[in-house]
């Protein structure tokens, strides 16, 4: 690289822009978390100051944990997300393997059919989905949510995973076949472990919209026992609008799990994107 493109002024400008934008991205989140640890007076008097020993206050968290059943909501969200994620990855990988490995009549057509769902959002079918769930008695169950999220996640999973499975060496699979492995064993023993990085990428892309979704929990499972964290936080905040401590604490509690997951997976996510998984 020539030195002309790396003048100090240019580097400085680049960092200045990036720092400014990072501040814009992080400031609102930090503001909420910081203030959730303060007393009501301090929230209003000095919103930008860090909590000090004098105004440190956990009353907001106490209210949230007493009033809302956040542990239950959290558990619901976790069950829905983990089970849907597992099904999306398993079924998605199986279908992707069939599409990328075997030549059969209608292969391309099936690929296009499954890819349709990437562009057309499942939400548009809500009216009929609700009727389906009512008819099968699944309204207000976590199963309804799991089914919907599995269907929602499959198209992208199949699409990305079949791109990756095409890269798995044929020689390896054929060697397995000569050794007498069944097609199922070849898939589970040979191919799945090799596409693990791609699976992680798909997992992150699938997980975030499921955890954050408000629409389907609101429509399919709004009962107290099946509320997810997102819906629970939405309703709780709506009821406690004037209790700033509680609202800030509820927001912080809703932010933290996603943030922790993101920081754990961020390297995987970024690697997945930059390695061309979604190009």
């Amino acid at each position: 690289m020539s030195t002309a493109t790396h003048s100090p002024a240019r580097t400085f400008a680049a960092h200045a822009v990036l720092i400014a934008y990072t501040a814009i991205a992080l400031f609102p989140v930090l503001l909420i978390v910081i203030n959730s640890f303060k007393s009501r007076n301090a929230i209003f008097r000095s919103p930008l100051a860090l909590p000090t020993p004098e105004n440190f206050d956990l009353i907001g968290y106490a209210t949230v944990l007493k009033q809302g059943d956040f542990f239950l909501y959290f558990q619901n969200s976790l069950i829905v997300t983990v089970v849907s994620l597992f099904l999306v990855l398993l079924f998605g990988a199986m279908a992707a393997f069939a599409l990328s490995e075997y030549r059969f009549k209608g292969n391309t057509l099936m690929g296009l059919y499954l890819a349709l769902g990437i562009m057309i959002p499942i939400r548009l079918g809500t009216v009929a989905i609700l009727q389906l769930m009512v008819a099968s008695g699944l309204v207000n169950t976590l199963t309804a949510l799991i089914l919907v999220y599995t269907a929602q996640g499959l198209p992208l999973a199949v699409f990305i995973l079949s791109e990756f499975m095409k890269q798995v060496s044929d020689d390896l699979k054929n060697a397995g076949r000569i050794d007498g492995l069944s097609e199922y064993r070849i898939f589970f023993r040979l191919v799945l472990p090799l596409v693990r990085p791609a699976m992680a990428t798909v997992a992150v892309f699938t997980m975030i919209p499921i955890w954050n979704d408000l629409w389907f929990p609101l429509i399919l499972a709004p009962s107290e026992e099946t509320k997810t964290v997102t819906l629970g936080a939405q309703i709780f905040i709506g009821q406690y609008v004037t209790n700033w401590n509680a609202v800030l604490a509820a927001l912080s509690l809703a932010i933290l799990p996603v943030l922790v997951l993101y920081v754990i997976f961020s390297r995987q996510l970024i690697r997945g994107i930059t390695s061309g998984a979604v190009k």
């Binding site: 002309a4 960092h15 089914l147 975030i208 429509i219």
Partner: protein, 310 residues
Amino acid sequence: MVTETARSKSPIRWHIAVFLAPAVLIYTLVMILPLFGTLQLSLYRTIDGVRQFVGIDNFRTLFGDPRWSASFWNALGNNVWFFIIHMVVQNPIGIALAAILSHPKLRFAAFYRTAIFIPTVLSFVVVGFIWKLILSPLWGVAPWMMDLVGLKSWFTPWLGKEEYALTTLGLISVWQFVGIPMMLIYAALLSIPDEVIEAAEMDGITGMSQFWKIKLPLILPAIGIISILTFVGNFNAFDLIYSAQGAMAGPNYATDILGTFLYRTFFGFQLQLGDPNMGATIASMMFFIILAGVCVYLFAIQTRLRRYQF
């Protein structure tokens, strides 16, 4: 290869069906059939408890009845504006950030990337309320910040004013999602081979002109994908408006978009009862709009973009 051809002669390869079945079944049952079910429902109406086929009457009501059509056009217009804000603000910012980030010798690039992407992983509910609090005149964080740069007099409760509310929500959504175009463009920029860049530098094309003349044409396909993703996402949006402004999409429906309009129609609000058939009609219109957008992209834009193979 020998095994492959031998295999394809065997009559039925059950394992293919076994591999495909679960995904295809769930996808068809929970996604495709309901989509068509919704299209079908829009052709029926329940009159005195009996479901009747009414053809395109529901669509006629939606466009012909002044109350319905006013709401529909209002929601559609707002949705178009919402989309324009994303195209004009979110995508250029995303591209600019990616261009800066992709500089090969930039330090802390991973940190910036991770931090700027954080809002994208938060839920709409959280984002909606965070900004509602920050922009609230009660708390006073926004006016205080504007005072720092001497613009305090410009502050108004933006989310509460009809003329600003939608634009404000659009910008909040931009704040949340700028990470997506940034990442996709970043990936596209990284995949440009060094030889191309070096050749450009040999010819004396560096800095800004290098970006405009060399890199931008090469990342146009990625920009096309971002545009269509933005389009689908925006015309399907609901959560942010619902959590910040409620189902009524206030003030005075100024922030009503197709998603909130669908929700209100389907489930009813205040005194109006929910109407599944009109809801399905609106969902069908959204389906046609999104389908039209996707087709325009696939047939008119994507085929004309020149792709370079390295």
